[in-house]
């Protein structure tokens, strides 16, 4: 096996000179290229050598797996389905797998992003976490899904909902990009970006236009203790269920402390996200057509290149206006600016 420490250009020269097996050289070169820029350079070099794309090693390849916590709390649990495996007998396993697949493909095909870290990180999911657990979350290295108790969430609904799965994976993307701190306004932006891509990826899967979409997060997943249609509505924040108190305008911003008290939701991150959510809805319907085109590309560009850990709503407005102007021009930037004005941020 080739030593990974050798610089890429030497490996490729050795391959060209016939001193190394080309496949081995390519694998070693890509493995050595930790940084994205270097990896792109290696890809270009490999292609310039006329090598078959099939020879490219797996650094970029999609790699999803689903584990079963068997109602316990140990992660990741028992492997039930790997990337190349067919469907499993357990529906929850296939739901988590298929929705992670849709999300991975969206980020790659629409936004050119390879997994949460843009470096092909394995996408690991665990289902059946604890017993009747009413939650799903991005754990820092993987997704985790409870089965739902039937009270807050319907049994089996969390991993089965594309918007929920895409929301959780997007928390991973946020962590690897802007790293928005999960508190007050920056935390509400973190939540909002997860909702935006949760909804956009669902729309992409259903091939809906912005006008056709329901703009709901977790449609039909609510259990018996909640009365409503979904967890959140981006079109009409505050109307999704009987305990939904999301504002759609800065006049109704809910000020809560971030004091670790479970009643205060890290300073209202799941409440005030209604404001940027509404702004994105206005942009998507204002530009028209498919939300995953200009609107999502503007929002992604702002996240990946402009937003920072402590960005506030005003910063998000400025960032998306700047991204719209740079990527598309003044008409789109104007629509973005108007949307943030309509929700009272600008």
């Amino acid at each position: 096996m080739v030593c990974f420490i050798l610089p890429t250009h030497i490996l490729l020269e050795m391959a060209e000179a016939g001193e190394l097996d080309t496949r081995e050289a390519v694998e070693a070169a890509v493995a050595a290229a930790g940084m994205r820029e270097r990896r792109i350079a290696v890809t270009a070099l490999v292609q310039s050598m006329g090598l078959d794309a099939e020879l490219m090693p797996m650094a970029f390849a999609e790699n999803k797996s689903v584990y079963d916590a068997q109602n316990g709390a140990l992660l990741p649990g028992v492997l039930r389905r790997g990337e190349k495996d067919g469907p499993h007998a357990d529906k929850a396993v296939n739901d988590a797998f298929d929705n992670a697949d849709k999300t991975y493909d969206f980020y790659r095909d629409v936004l050119g992003r390879h997994s949460v870290d843009d470096n092909g990180a394995k996408l690991v999911s665990t289902v059946h976490y604890r017993e009747g657990y009413d939650n799903a979350f991005w754990e820092g290295t993987q997704m985790v899904y409870g089965d739902g108790s039937g009270k807050i969430f319907k049994v089996g609904s969390l991993a089965a909902d594309t918007s929920v799965v895409a929301h959780e994976i997007t928390h991973g993307v946020v962590e690897f990009t802007a790293g928005l701190v999960y508190s007050k306004q920056s935390g509400a932006l973190n939540e909002s970006w997860a909702d935006v891509f949760g909804s956009v990826i669902k729309q992409h899967t259903l091939k809906q236009t912005a006008d056709q979409a329901d703009w709901l997060l977790g449609e039909g997943i609510l259990g018996t203790q909640l009365q409503g249609t979904a967890l959140r509505s981006m079109k009409e924040p505050g109307t999704a269920h009987n305990f939904d108190r999301q504002p759609a305008h800065m006049d109704d911003f809910v000020v809560l402390p971030d004091d670790g008290n479970p009643r205060n939701d890290n300073g209202g991150v799941h409440i005030n996200s209604g404001i940027p959510n509404k702004a994105f809805f206005l942009v998507a319907t204002g530009i028209g057509g498919h939300s995953w085109e200009a609107p999502a590309k503007i929002w992604y560009d702002a996240l990946a290149t402009r937003l920072q850990q402590n960005s506030q709503f005003k910063d998000a407005a400025d960032a998306t206006v700047a991204s719209a102007k740079e990527l598309y021009g003044e008409p789109e930037a104007g629509i973005v600016r108007s949307a943030w004005q309509e929700v009272g941020v600008l």
């Binding site: 709390a73 820092g140 969430f153 305990f243 008290n261 009643r263 939701d265 890290n266």
Partner: protein, 102 residues
């Protein structure tokens, strides 16, 4: 004794309360000690969609409160929470963040 859960994907708040006044004083003190022990586990920096659990004991000797991360519980604390959330005669409430359970 009350267990309050908040945060998570929904951001909602649920609370479960049980009346522990019938416990023998030795048992009550053991309960308080367990809650004090639990507070040694730091909930850490806030992370997306994680549940936070507050455990509260109120009795004649005062109130003891602790906050823990629902996904990082010491076994004894998990037992305590499970005991409250499955105790006969418990009362459950549910509500939005900020306002909390009715």
């Amino acid at each position: 004794m009350t267990v309050v859960r908040g945060g998570g994907l929904a951001g909602l708040v649920s609370s479960t309360a049980v009346d522990t006044s019938a416990l023998a004083s030795a048992d009550a003190e053991a309960l308080r000690a367990r809650v004090r022990m639990a507070s040694l586990t730091d909930a850490g920096a806030p992370r997306p969609d994680r549940e936070i659990v507050e455990i509260l004991i109120e009795d004649d000797a005062g109130a003891v409160t602790t906050l823990v991360n629902a996904d990082d519980l010491a076994p004894g604390v998990r037992e305590l929470i499970e005991w409250v959330e499955s105790a006969p005669g418990r009362t459950e409430h549910f509500g939005p963040p900020g306002i909390g359970p009715a």
